[in-house]
């Protein structure tokens, strides 16, 4: 039996570049940075004082204080993005989605803000004063459960925690659910809200973060010789995946097709990529084979491109290994240069970028790319967006733990 084709019929997002899809896209193609000094807490004791925060969003105003205070910020962002996506797909968010709809969400560290708060209270006031909602806010599947409750999603649910590959894996597993006929609709996405004091401090301890505190907007510089680490960011992005048959039967608009998914594990080191990006090569190869495509078909690669010295060098090697001579022709960019690293929310956001790029025929740039690194010598679309008719895009996501998730999108 041939697999069912999977389309995307709705998009929703809240991230450092905007609180909806159109603002985010405008800022992406205009090369705007969403990175700035941290405003949500005092950074005086931290070695890194900037991040990509969501701006102008008041959860109390959006969902009412009584509901908002029961959720971690990651839950607020998830529900906000999911509601946008469902509306965009033509569903009524007041109605229950029912058992023909599944949900797959990715996150790296779940409700880490709630964890930090609860530990602080425990230390200062003891066990009897811990917030009784702490567990339901901090568990990694909290957003999955809260979104399902809010919109009555009764089909299968999964929460995927493969660090920075989490929501690429979420979109991929959701694609498999629809291909295999388990459900017709899946709400797939990813969320992270780790711009919190302990989390910034802990990532800084492993020297993963850029420390360019004086120039936040220029700090994330993927593939640039002077790159010095990633920039923490928060946000949520949700895609409505649907069988082509289901979408067409209700005359839904179609952004594009998810045609390939590859998932592999380095099994090498908990943070460092395998030499030459060996696991990434296998994931890209599997995703193309799943899509029945070859490297010659790929028009655009939305790179993982974190701006860490190790990732960008190894991802470049991996692309060269798989693509051969074609590596120097394919258009590549890292939109993390503008959003920062959305961690478990990155794969879903960058899936959205791929779909919009194909639909609109525009490749968003890699900003802050000014100094050539001899080890990163491919075409990364430096600093300015490029107009180009395209049909196939690939999105790379690689996570701590050695997890690799690659997705392939088609306009037709």
């Amino acid at each position: 039996m041939s697999k069912r084709r999977v389309v995307v019929t709705g998009l929703g997002t809240i991230n450092p570049l905007g609180n909806n899809v159109s603002d985010s896209w405008e800022n992406l193609i205009n090369g705007k940075s969403g990175i700035d000094n941290i405003t949500s807490f005092d950074t005086a004791d931290l070695p890194v004082t900037f991040a990509g925060e969501v701006k102008n969003f008041d959860a109390n105003e959006y969902m009412g204080k009584q509901h908002a205070r029961k959720l971690d910020r990651s839950g607020h962002l998830s529900i906000y993005a999911a509601e946008q996506a469902l509306l965009d797909a033509g569903f009524n968010p007041e109605k229950r989605m029912g058992s023909n709809c599944g949900i797959v969400f990715g996150t790296g560290i779940g409700g880490i803000g709630a964890t930090e708060d609860a530990v602080r209270v425990y230390d200062e006031r003891g066990a009897s004063r811990i917030n009784p909602l702490a567990i339901t806010q901090l568990m990694p599947n909290s957003s999955t459960g809260q979104v399902a409750i809010k919109f009555g999603i009764e089909g299968p649910s999964l929460t995927i925690t493969t660090a920075c590959a989490a929501s690429a894996n979420a979109v991929g597993e959701a694609k498999n659910m629809i291909e295999n006929g388990i459900v017709d609709i899946v709400v797939a996405g990813g969320t992270e809200s780790g711009t919190t004091p302990m989390t910034i401090g802990a990532f800084a301890q492993i020297r993963a973060l850029s420390t360019k505190n004086d120039t936040p907007a220029e700090a994330c510089s993927p593939f640039d010789k002077n790159r010095d680490g990633f920039v923490m960011a928060e946000g949520s992005t949700v895609l409505i995946l649907e069988s082509e048959e289901s979408a067409k039967s209700r005359d839904a608009k179609i952004y594009g097709y998810i045609v390939g998914y590859g998932s592999t594990t380095d099994a090498h080191h908990i943070t460092a990529p395998a030499e030459g990006g060996e696991g990434a090569v296998r994931a890209m190869d599997k995703a193309l084979k799943d899509a029945n495509l070859s490297v010659d078909n790929v028009d655009y690669i939305n790179a993982h491109g974190t701006s860490t010295p190790a990732n960008d060098k190894n991802e470049t090697s991996a692309i060269k290994t798989l693509f051969g001579a074609k590596a120097y022709e394919v258009d590549i960019s890292s939109t993390k240069s503008m959003t920062g690293h959305l961690l478990g929310g990155a794969g879903a956001f960058e899936s959205m970028v791929c779909l919009l790029s194909l639909q609109k025929g525009v490749i968003p740039p890699t900003i802050n790319l000014n100094n050539k690194d001899e080890e990163c010598d491919l075409n990364y679309t430096p600093n300015n967006a490029v107009n180009k008719e395209m049909n196939i895009a690939m999105s790379n996501s690689f996570g701590f733990g050695g997890h690799n998730g690659v997705l392939v999108f088609s306009k037709t």
């Binding site: 204080k65 009584q66 509901h67 009784p132 909602l133």
Partner: protein, 79 residues
């Protein structure tokens, strides 16, 4: 402290801390049905009461409390 003062303090906690609509907080209001305070919420309410009135409330004492009025009476008897 008079019972009506206890009620006003309880109302203040519900409105300020829990975000409940002020007009819903009456002596007859049912905690679960009217104020949408679920089993997790009750634990929060008890913590807020304990902090506000500097008392301790055992779980058994809560068994018969399902309305704002019953909560006010329990608190009034313990202060």
């Amino acid at each position: 402290m008079e019972a009506n003062e206890v009620f006003e303090k309880v109302k203040g906690l519900f409105v300020e801390d829990l975000g409940i609509d002020e007009s819903k907080v009456t002596m007859d209001a049912k905690l679960e049905e009217d104020l949408e305070i679920d089993s997790l919420g009750i634990v929060e309410v008890v913590m807020a009461f304990e902090d506000e009135f500097e008392i301790e409330i055992d779980d058994e004492e809560l068994a018969d409390v399902s309305t704002v009025g019953q909560a006010v009476n329990l608190l009034h008897s313990k202060i």
